[in-house]
């Protein structure tokens, strides 16, 4: 409860409080004149309206605002106060954040999206996660070019206007750093879903099919790999087999309806749907068609997975199916026993999400959640399921199955097979421990624990 109870209204006994809460839990609650009546509860018998005092009536902070305030009594600001609109100042805590101890400087670092504060499946451009290897350049698009050369019939140079003349496509895709979840390989480090799963975002991209551009230049028969390269200080490069490039890759110039942000590769970036975000080369300026892979540092020294026996896995392009509960998550506290709508995100680098199942008992029994968003190929999918929390300790988990039939594994299984030195592609399930409501001051806390 609150300490701002007003005595004259809140004359409660334990019995009336419990009764009020029971009625509340039955749903269809309505507040009238500081006393709560519910038709359903009334009809079900045993409910005495005289005793019914809603647990929250008399909270001054709830009713004070019924006075007309400044918003109603004065004019707001006019048009074009902000020629480019900004979120309400009350949303100022919704930010991408970083852990300063993670990297020695901010030009080769990462921020995480506040996925516990996002709704739906689209990440706003200002909250898209960031990952830089050499800082963010500010590139004048008039001076930017894309070159396709190497094993092609006709090397070509494109201006940004050239690219926009091509047929365009718009697709909603998630983009995920393969180190998303890496902090959790050795155990629990951080108690927030922003830290455990925030190295990803999901936006709508618009651009040109890579296959259209490559066919324009004409790949020679011996051209088996494409090597995209960025115009920034890191000169980011990766190697993609032609099959992957021709599948569904595109060169994007827009993100959520506007030009890409500088942090995401302005003026153009490569989009490699479903694959690790390191391959989505930003500030793209050159695509070399080649007969062999580059064996670049980012596909040998980094973005490779060290196995328990000392061998290492490379060219691990695809992001496995993954899911996480974003509410309730360790960023929240339970508000008392009762009904909750457990919701979260599921995604797969290999196609559409087929099922998401939720367990509240640590993985013994599962119930299928329903989707509250559209289900798109290689995109975030929102799931939700009703949960009656009885106030006892619970272990919340989500498990995705994608359309290829892949089922997200539990952490002990992944740890046993893959070890814990991989750094990348930790896609096993996570567990949120909900502390029992009657657990002293930690009652209702939600804790990130690991199996």
């Amino acid at each position: 409860m609150t300490d701002k109870m007003e005595e004259k209204v809140a004359l409660q006994t334990d019995a009336s409080r419990n009764q009020g809460r029971r009625a509340f839990l039955k749903g269809s609650a309505a507040v009238a004149g500081g006393v709560m009546f519910t038709q359903a509860a009334h009809a079900s018998g045993g409910f005495d309206p005289k005793k019914a005092v809603a647990p929250y009536t008399g909270k001054a902070e709830l009713t004070d605002v019924l006075q007309d305030g400044a918003a109603r009594k004065s004019l707001g600001f006019g048009v074009r106060k902000y020629p480019y609109g900004m979120p309400s100042p009350f949303e100022k805590e919704v930010q991408r954040r970083t852990l300063e101890w993670l990297t020695p400087d901010s030009m080769a670092s990462i921020t995480m999206s506040p996925i516990h504060q996002l709704h739906g499946i689209i990440t706003p451009n200002g909250l898209h996660f960031e990952r830089f290897h050499g800082g963010v350049p500010t590139i004048n698009p008039d001076d930017h070019r894309l070159v396709i050369h190497g094993l092609v019939e006709r090397p070509l140079i494109f201006t940004m206007d050239d690219l926009k003349r091509f047929p365009s496509i718009s697709r909603i895709h998630f983009v995920e750093c393969p180190a998303n979840g890496a902090l959790e390989w050795k155990g629990i480090q951080l108690n927030s879903v922003q830290w455990t799963h925030g190295m990803m975002s999901c936006v709508e991209y618009t651009g040109v099919r890579l296959s259209d551009l490559l066919k324009e230049a004409g790949i020679k028969p011996e051209g088996k790999w494409i090597i995209p390269e960025g115009a920034d200080a890191s000169g980011m490069s990766r190697s993609l087999p032609v099959e992957l490039a021709m599948d569904d890759c595109f060169v994007a110039y827009a993100q959520n309806g506007e030009a890409l942000r500088r942090e995401q590769g302005y003026p153009i970036r490569l989009v490699v749907p479903g694959c690790e975000a390191n391959m989505w080369v930003k500030y793209l300026r050159r695509i070399m068609v080649h007969d062999v892979p580059l064996q670049h540092r980012e596909e040998t020294s980094k973005y490779t997975e060290l196995m328990p026996d000392g061998t290492a896995q490379r060219f691990s392009w695809y992001m496995e199916a993954n899911s996480v509960i974003t509410y309730p998550s360790p960023d929240f506290k339970m508000q008392g026993p009762g009904k909750y709508y457990v919701r979260g995100l599921a995604w797969s680098g290999r196609g559409k999400v087929a099922h998401v199942d939720i367990s509240t008992d640590g993985g013994r029994n599962w119930k299928e959640a329903h989707f509250t968003s559209v289900v798109l190929d290689k995109a975030w999918t929102r799931f939700e399921i009703e949960w009656d929390w009885d106030g006892s300790e619970a272990f919340l988990m989500s498990r995705v199955t994608d359309e290829t039939g892949y089922v997200q594994p539990p952490m002990p299984q992944m740890r046993k097979l893959e070890g814990t030195n991989n750094v990348y592609h930790r896609t096993a399930m996570v567990t949120w421990r909900v502390h029992a409501w009657e657990d002293g001051k930690s009652g209702g806390l939600i804790e990130n624990v690991q199996y």
């Binding site: 020695p104 000169g235 896995q313 089922v407």
Partner: protein, 357 residues
């Protein structure tokens, strides 16, 4: 709903093997039988099996139908995936040599049929394509300044006349690199070490992850030249005042700091070795960790989608099925649960289980 669908998948797969009358009356193609096996091991009609299972190429039952009942998880299952005949293999034939290697290649497995079909539609089978003529043709020679790529075979390296002695390279290294990477490549200020002698195998899963650097981890030495010329010094990459000769000298010094060799006799790089692209390619051939790499073998796990009373090993931490057996973040001495404690107490180096990003 789940059960129904699953049953259909199972039935259609069973049908492929038995070819029973029941199966024919169901949805499957009557020609669908496992008549032949690739290499005597893998179902040759894997495309059909996958199609009949609604494209579920990572479904447990489908994987087992194609690879055989013994298709296993993880490391054991990987052995089969190193076989180029295996439709789930990422490996191409010429990369499985285990010894002094050329440029290893990986591919999209054949079993990922939807990727191949899409690539065929967009490219291999697109005979209707007509060039739009947007873009401007450009001569390859005009791109020389941009073309800084050196591949795993050493294509793109400077002419052998370009280079310098390791001793000269060391001076350049100390001037431009040592403040972040240490004079001997030991690392500094949280930046990556370039030369460590660490075993890549740890005895316990809670041990800190091994430090990975050029000598103990990198499969290619040419990568080092490509990378430092491309990106270093961090604040002014691809510096003309260092030039190809300087970048080669720095490369040579780092390779020497890792005690790498360039022939069967184990000859190391000496201070007066003139380090050029030819010496670099010799070292490239003797990188100690080169045989320990394999192409992506995921998925390593193909579970059933269990809904009720799931087995003990899928519940809790230790396989006993107790959900209250879990691991927590470390606690401070006063018992307060805190996160990232080792880093805060300066016991561990910063990082996500490895040094730097």
């Amino acid at each position: 709903m789940y059960n129904t669908k699953k049953t259909i998948v199972a039935v259609s797969i069973a049908a492929l093997f038995t070819g029973s009358a029941f199966a024919m009356s169901e949805n499957s193609n009557s020609n669908a039988e496992v008549s032949a096996k690739i290499d005597g091991k893998y179902a040759s009609n894997y495309v059909e099996i996958i199609k009949n299972a609604d494209g579920k190429y990572l479904d447990k039952a489908v994987i087992e139908a194609i690879l055989g009942e013994e298709a296993t998880h993880g490391r054991n299952g990987m052995v089969g995936k190193l076989d180029p005949a295996n439709p789930y293999s990422f490996e191409v034939d010429d990369s499985i040599d285990g010894g002094n290697h050329g440029n290893a290649q990986c591919k999209i497995p054949k079993a990922f049929v939807e990727v191949h079909e899409s690539a065929a539609k967009n490219y291999f089978d697109d005979d209707k394509f007509v060039a739009r003529g947007f873009g401007t043709p450009i001569a390859e020679s005009a791109l020389e300044k941009w073309n800084i790529s050196v591949d795993g075979d050493g294509k793109g390296l400077p002419d052998p006349s370009v280079g310098m002695t390791i001793e000269e390279g060391a001076k350049i290294y100390v001037q431009f690199c040592a403040m972040c990477h240490g004079e001997f490549g030991e690392g500094a200020k949280g930046y990556l070490p370039l030369a460590v002698e660490e075993d890549l195998v740890t005895s316990d899963f809670t041990d800190p992850a091994p430090m990975k650097s050029v000598g103990n981890y990198w499969p290619y030495a040419v990568t080092l030249f490509d990378y430092i010329r491309r990106t270093m010094p961090f604040w002014t990459p691809n510096a003309p005042y260092i030039g190809d000769a300087g970048y080669l000298g720095m490369t040579g010094y780092i390779l020497q700091s890792n005690y790498l060799v360039m022939d069967d006799e184990g000859t190391e790089l000496e201070d007066d070795t003139f380090f050029n692209s030819e010496v670099l390619m010799k070292v490239n051939k003797y990188m100690p960790n080169q045989g320990n790499w394999f192409c992506d073998h995921r998925p390593v796990i193909h579970n059933e989608r269990c809904m009720t009373n799931c087995p003990d090993e899928q519940v809790g931490w230790d396989g006993t099925g107790d959900p209250t057996k879990y691991r927590q973040a470390r606690k401070l001495p006063d018992g307060t649960p805190q996160y990232n404690v080792p880093q805060r107490m300066h016991e561990d180096k910063p990082g996500v289980g490895h040094a730097g990003m």
